[in-house]
Symmetry: C2
Subunit: 257 residues, 2 copies
């Protein structure tokens, strides 16, 4: 009996040449037929941006020796759309994985994250999806401790599926001396950036601004992704595409509208 | 006794010269001290993108005769950050309003919408916020039927505040013959785009692609934003920045992780 291998679409937001997507694509080869469709330039912080004010270019990529790979001028969300509607067309991917992001996407970062937007785009389309991120921004970060977890989590998602319109946000602690303690299922922490803008001056005397800030955790719960990462666990937060604040709906009913 | 007027930050994603932001800024003058900080170019579909790979420029805008206004190279979310952290600095806005978007941001569009991302950015920062959109893409769309609702809703938000990390997604039906029936508090409909890519060829024989598609409502509920708009009501969906799928957390506990 021949069993068709699952098709796994791999994307990211750091760009197709980054170390993280290479680690992820290689790990996924153990589980299925891998196709890489990723941005040809850094798309960090792109959130759920899609390209509608300009056209998109696509070309075959030579970045991966033995994999079918495309690089595009699109955003991470665009890459998933291109995979489903154009490149794979007659076959819906069985799984979309995004990352491994160089840098954490825990807590509120999920909203800014191109990595997670690719996964959420898949969830909109009813495709099981996972975004993977490492709490280390370095281009040469050590991903070796993530590999077993990548296949463990992706295999479970392929086997069990995910609830409708839900994607997983998986974050890995940066490599430390002690080994990872395991996986925690978490809620999104109430943590965010305390920000400011750095003002600089160009050679012509005109000001320009860089967003800068530090990440602060306001959440004291032990059930959050921030707690898990700080305590050397892999965090998994299931995220949904329905943003409705159902509890707030009740409160609004008391208004004079 | 002198009472300080509330500070209302107005932004959008269509760009500072669009008709919708003018209607909104003018309506808000009735309620407080208005400052406009908006993109200097179209930013539709930008989702929750922020500018971190390039610096941001800001300049005073002459688009509004009698209002303090700035145009920036940033995204809608950047504009809110610039308002809070740089331009207003010593005074947090009392309300952030975004729009009026030329085009609906109901259902899943909330994830792609720069208009709503500006409101969500404010919600992250604990500032009451509302995104307003009209179900008509035309640059010269008729907004006259929205004005009374803009002030009604904004006034209520100023008076009552909003639950923590919640912003309102308000959509108006396009102008039709019969008058608007009123306001409905709604959940986000399970409706999305059925998409494809148009392939075209540039003068040099190379292909390029445009995202195209039609919006389809899969949701038969009468409590959704899509139902409200189709039945000539103004829809209000409260949206939260916590994406955790709490119901899915329970299901994941049964996995072998």
């Amino acid at each position: 009996m021949s069993v068709e291998k699952p098709v796994i679409l791999v994307t990211n937001d750091d760009d197709i040449t980054s170390k993280g997507i290479r680690v992820l694509a290689e790990a996924m080869q153990e589980l299925g037929e891998v196709i890489v469709i990723a941005p040809d330039r850094p798309q960090s912080g792109q959130g759920h941006a899609i390209t509608i004010n300009s056209p998109i270019r696509i070309r075959r990529s030579r970045v991966f020796d033995s994999l079918v790979a495309y690089e595009t001028t699109g955003t991470p969300a665009d890459c998933v759309k291109l995979g489903k509607h154009l490149i794979l067309k007659d076959r819906k991917p069985d799984l979309v994985v995004s990352g491994i992001n160089h840098g954490s996407n825990s807590a509120i970062s999920v909203l800014y994250s191109g990595t997670m937007s690719a996964a959420m785009e898949a969830a909109i389309e009813g495709i099981p999806a996972v975004g993977f991120s490492l709490a280390n921004y370095h281009p040469e970060a050590d991903f070796s401790h993530t590999v077993d977890y990548l296949t463990l989590i992706a295999r479970q998602v392929l086997e069990k599926g995910l609830p409708k319109h839900v994607a997983l946000n998986v974050n890995f602690p940066a490599r430390v001396e002690e080994p990872i303690k395991g996986i925690r299922l978490c809620r999104q922490a109430d943590a965010r950036y305390l920000e400011h803008f750095q003002q600089r001056e160009d050679p012509y005397g005109r000001p320009y601004y860089w967003l800068d800030g530090e990440f602060v955790n306001f959440d004291t719960g032990h059930d959050t992704d921030e707690w898990a990462l700080a305590n050397n666990y892999v965090s998994i937060v299931p995220c949904k595409t329905d943003l409705t604040a159902y509890a707030a709906l009740e409160e609004l009913k008391t208004w004079s509208l």
